[in-house]
Protein backbone atom coordinates (compact mmCIF):
# COMPACT_ATOMS: atom_id res chain seq x y z
CA UNK A 1 0.00 0.00 0.00
CA UNK A 2 1.31 3.44 -0.89
CA UNK A 3 0.36 6.84 0.44
CA UNK A 4 0.81 10.54 -0.19
CA UNK A 5 1.08 11.51 3.44
CA UNK A 6 4.22 13.55 2.83
CA UNK A 7 2.43 15.62 0.17
CA UNK A 8 -0.63 16.14 2.36
CA UNK A 9 1.63 17.15 5.22
CA UNK A 10 3.44 19.66 3.00
CA UNK A 11 0.11 21.13 1.82
CA UNK A 12 -0.90 21.71 5.45
CA UNK A 13 2.65 22.90 6.27
CA UNK A 14 3.03 20.40 9.08
CA UNK A 15 6.23 18.74 10.25
CA UNK A 16 6.26 15.06 11.18
CA UNK A 17 6.48 16.16 14.81
CA UNK A 18 3.43 18.46 14.46
CA UNK A 19 1.36 15.73 12.84
CA UNK A 20 2.47 13.19 15.43
CA UNK A 21 1.37 15.51 18.22
CA UNK A 22 -2.01 16.09 16.57
CA UNK A 23 -2.58 12.34 16.32
CA UNK A 24 -1.08 11.36 19.66
CA UNK A 25 1.55 9.07 18.12
CA UNK A 26 5.34 9.20 17.88
CA UNK A 27 7.23 10.97 15.07
CA UNK A 28 8.73 7.58 14.25
CA UNK A 29 5.23 6.27 13.45
CA UNK A 30 4.58 9.09 10.97
CA UNK A 31 8.00 8.52 9.39
CA UNK A 32 7.38 4.77 9.09
CA UNK A 33 3.98 5.34 7.43
CA UNK A 34 5.46 7.85 4.96
CA UNK A 35 8.19 5.40 4.00
CA UNK A 36 5.64 2.58 3.57
CA UNK A 37 7.30 0.54 6.31
CA UNK A 38 4.18 0.51 8.45
CA UNK A 39 0.51 0.24 7.51
CA UNK A 40 -1.58 2.18 10.06
CA UNK A 41 -4.72 0.85 11.70
CA UNK A 42 -8.13 1.95 10.47
CA UNK A 43 -8.46 4.22 13.50
CA UNK A 44 -5.19 6.03 12.74
CA UNK A 45 -6.04 6.24 9.01
CA UNK A 46 -9.39 7.85 9.90
CA UNK A 47 -7.65 10.27 12.25
CA UNK A 48 -5.28 11.21 9.41
CA UNK A 49 -8.18 11.79 7.05
CA UNK A 50 -9.83 14.01 9.68
CA UNK A 51 -6.67 16.10 10.16
CA UNK A 52 -6.25 16.62 6.40
CA UNK A 53 -9.98 17.00 5.71
CA UNK A 54 -9.96 14.40 2.93
CA UNK A 55 -11.05 10.77 2.66
CA UNK A 56 -8.82 7.82 3.57
CA UNK A 57 -8.82 6.77 -0.10
CA UNK A 58 -7.27 10.09 -1.04
CA UNK A 59 -4.32 9.41 1.27
CA UNK A 60 -3.85 5.65 0.89
CA UNK A 61 -3.91 3.59 -2.25
CA UNK A 62 -3.72 -0.16 -2.79
CA UNK A 63 -0.92 -1.49 -4.97
CA UNK A 64 -0.99 -4.48 -7.31
CA UNK A 65 0.49 -6.85 -4.74
CA UNK A 66 -2.14 -6.02 -2.08
Amino acid sequence: MKNNLKVQRAIKDLTQEDLAKLLGVSRQTINSIEKNRYVPSTVLALKLSKVFGITVNEIFELEDGN
Binding site: G24, V25, S26, T29, S41
Partner: protein, 163 residues
Protein backbone atom coordinates in the same frame (compact mmCIF):
# COMPACT_ATOMS: atom_id res chain seq x y z
CA UNK B 1 -44.59 -28.67 15.51
CA UNK B 2 -46.53 -26.41 17.87
CA UNK B 3 -45.11 -23.11 19.06
CA UNK B 4 -44.89 -24.33 22.67
CA UNK B 5 -42.97 -27.41 21.54
CA UNK B 6 -40.55 -25.24 19.59
CA UNK B 7 -40.05 -23.05 22.65
CA UNK B 8 -39.42 -26.01 24.98
CA UNK B 9 -37.05 -27.60 22.47
CA UNK B 10 -35.00 -24.56 21.56
CA UNK B 11 -35.64 -22.21 24.51
CA UNK B 12 -33.16 -23.86 26.93
CA UNK B 13 -30.68 -24.28 24.07
CA UNK B 14 -30.88 -20.58 23.27
CA UNK B 15 -30.47 -19.82 26.97
CA UNK B 16 -27.36 -22.05 27.11
CA UNK B 17 -25.94 -20.37 23.98
CA UNK B 18 -26.65 -16.97 25.50
CA UNK B 19 -24.76 -17.90 28.71
CA UNK B 20 -21.87 -19.34 26.65
CA UNK B 21 -21.76 -16.14 24.60
CA UNK B 22 -21.60 -14.07 27.80
CA UNK B 23 -18.79 -16.27 29.18
CA UNK B 24 -16.85 -15.98 25.89
CA UNK B 25 -17.35 -12.20 25.87
CA UNK B 26 -16.13 -11.90 29.46
CA UNK B 27 -13.20 -14.25 28.76
CA UNK B 28 -12.20 -12.20 25.71
CA UNK B 29 -12.35 -8.92 27.64
CA UNK B 30 -10.21 -10.38 30.43
CA UNK B 31 -7.66 -11.82 28.02
CA UNK B 32 -7.45 -8.58 26.05
CA UNK B 33 -7.09 -6.56 29.25
CA UNK B 34 -4.30 -8.84 30.50
CA UNK B 35 -2.69 -8.92 27.07
CA UNK B 36 -2.41 -5.14 27.11
CA UNK B 37 -0.88 -4.98 30.58
CA UNK B 38 2.23 -2.79 30.66
CA UNK B 39 4.23 -0.97 33.29
CA UNK B 40 4.66 2.83 33.07
CA UNK B 41 7.74 4.10 31.22
CA UNK B 42 9.66 4.93 34.43
CA UNK B 43 9.96 1.19 35.18
CA UNK B 44 12.29 0.84 32.19
CA UNK B 45 14.95 2.85 34.04
CA UNK B 46 14.24 0.97 37.27
CA UNK B 47 14.59 -2.31 35.37
CA UNK B 48 17.96 -1.33 33.88
CA UNK B 49 19.16 -0.20 37.32
CA UNK B 50 18.20 -3.60 38.76
CA UNK B 51 20.01 -5.42 35.91
CA UNK B 52 23.21 -3.36 36.32
CA UNK B 53 23.04 -3.66 40.13
CA UNK B 54 22.60 -7.45 39.98
CA UNK B 55 25.41 -7.74 37.41
CA UNK B 56 27.83 -5.72 39.57
CA UNK B 57 26.93 -7.79 42.62
CA UNK B 58 27.54 -10.99 40.63
CA UNK B 59 31.03 -9.73 39.76
CA UNK B 60 31.67 -8.55 43.33
CA UNK B 61 30.66 -11.89 44.86
CA UNK B 62 33.54 -13.59 43.08
CA UNK B 63 35.95 -11.79 45.45
CA UNK B 64 34.14 -12.64 48.69
CA UNK B 65 32.74 -15.79 50.30
CA UNK B 66 29.00 -15.84 49.96
CA UNK B 67 26.22 -18.32 50.80
CA UNK B 68 25.17 -20.67 47.99
CA UNK B 69 21.75 -19.03 47.59
CA UNK B 70 23.19 -15.65 46.53
CA UNK B 71 24.01 -16.63 42.93
CA UNK B 72 20.55 -18.00 41.99
CA UNK B 73 18.82 -15.09 43.74
CA UNK B 74 20.96 -12.54 41.85
CA UNK B 75 20.21 -14.32 38.59
CA UNK B 76 16.48 -14.19 39.33
CA UNK B 77 16.70 -10.50 40.24
CA UNK B 78 18.44 -9.86 36.93
CA UNK B 79 15.71 -11.73 35.03
CA UNK B 80 13.09 -9.69 36.91
CA UNK B 81 14.89 -6.52 35.77
CA UNK B 82 14.82 -7.69 32.16
CA UNK B 83 11.11 -8.49 32.51
CA UNK B 84 10.46 -4.95 33.79
CA UNK B 85 12.34 -3.46 30.82
CA UNK B 86 10.46 -5.78 28.45
CA UNK B 87 6.95 -4.87 29.64
CA UNK B 88 7.51 -1.15 30.28
CA UNK B 89 5.86 1.34 27.97
CA UNK B 90 7.82 3.59 25.63
CA UNK B 91 7.58 7.36 26.21
CA UNK B 92 4.95 7.43 23.45
CA UNK B 93 3.37 4.00 23.34
CA UNK B 94 1.36 3.93 20.13
CA UNK B 95 0.20 1.27 17.65
CA UNK B 96 3.58 1.08 15.88
CA UNK B 97 5.25 0.28 19.21
CA UNK B 98 2.59 -2.36 19.93
CA UNK B 99 3.21 -3.92 16.51
CA UNK B 100 7.00 -3.88 16.97
CA UNK B 101 6.62 -5.34 20.45
CA UNK B 102 4.45 -8.20 19.15
CA UNK B 103 6.99 -8.95 16.39
CA UNK B 104 9.86 -8.90 18.87
CA UNK B 105 8.04 -11.31 21.23
CA UNK B 106 7.34 -13.67 18.33
CA UNK B 107 11.00 -13.63 17.25
CA UNK B 108 12.19 -13.98 20.85
CA UNK B 109 9.97 -17.03 21.35
CA UNK B 110 11.16 -18.79 18.19
CA UNK B 111 14.85 -17.94 18.63
CA UNK B 112 14.69 -18.71 22.36
CA UNK B 113 13.16 -22.13 21.79
CA UNK B 114 15.67 -22.98 19.03
CA UNK B 115 18.56 -21.83 21.22
CA UNK B 116 17.33 -23.85 24.19
CA UNK B 117 16.98 -26.92 21.96
CA UNK B 118 20.42 -26.67 20.36
CA UNK B 119 22.56 -25.26 23.20
CA UNK B 120 22.63 -28.42 25.45
CA UNK B 121 23.89 -30.52 22.50
CA UNK B 122 26.67 -28.02 21.72
CA UNK B 123 27.70 -27.95 25.39
CA UNK B 124 27.58 -31.75 25.50
CA UNK B 125 29.72 -31.95 22.33
CA UNK B 126 32.36 -29.58 23.72
CA UNK B 127 32.40 -31.34 27.11
CA UNK B 128 32.76 -34.71 25.33
CA UNK B 129 35.86 -33.43 23.55
CA UNK B 130 37.45 -31.89 26.66
CA UNK B 131 36.42 -34.38 29.34
CA UNK B 132 34.56 -37.38 27.87
CA UNK B 133 34.08 -39.07 31.26
CA UNK B 134 32.06 -36.24 32.79
CA UNK B 135 30.08 -35.09 29.75
CA UNK B 136 26.39 -34.92 30.55
CA UNK B 137 23.42 -33.92 28.40
CA UNK B 138 21.54 -31.29 30.40
CA UNK B 139 17.84 -31.07 29.57
CA UNK B 140 17.06 -28.31 32.08
CA UNK B 141 15.09 -26.16 29.63
CA UNK B 142 12.42 -28.79 28.95
CA UNK B 143 9.96 -27.63 31.63
CA UNK B 144 10.11 -23.92 30.84
CA UNK B 145 9.98 -24.50 27.06
CA UNK B 146 6.97 -26.78 27.37
CA UNK B 147 5.26 -24.33 29.70
CA UNK B 148 5.84 -21.27 27.48
CA UNK B 149 4.72 -23.06 24.30
CA UNK B 150 1.63 -24.60 25.93
CA UNK B 151 0.61 -21.23 27.39
CA UNK B 152 1.08 -19.57 24.00
CA UNK B 153 -1.02 -22.20 22.22
CA UNK B 154 -3.74 -22.04 24.90
CA UNK B 155 -3.92 -18.23 24.81
CA UNK B 156 -3.93 -18.17 21.03
CA UNK B 157 -6.81 -20.68 20.90
CA UNK B 158 -8.73 -18.85 23.61
CA UNK B 159 -8.35 -15.53 21.75
CA UNK B 160 -9.24 -17.16 18.43
CA UNK B 161 -12.32 -18.80 19.93
CA UNK B 162 -13.56 -15.55 21.43
CA UNK B 163 -12.74 -13.17 18.58
Amino acid sequence: MSLSKIYYTFGPLNFTFSIMKDICESERNKLQRWGKFQLPNKYKKIGWSIIIGAFLLMIAKKFVDEPTWVKPVLRNVMILGFLMVSISKEKIEDELMASLRATSYRLALIIGVLYALVQPYITYGIESLIDPGNAELDNGYFQVLLYILLIQILFFNALKRTS
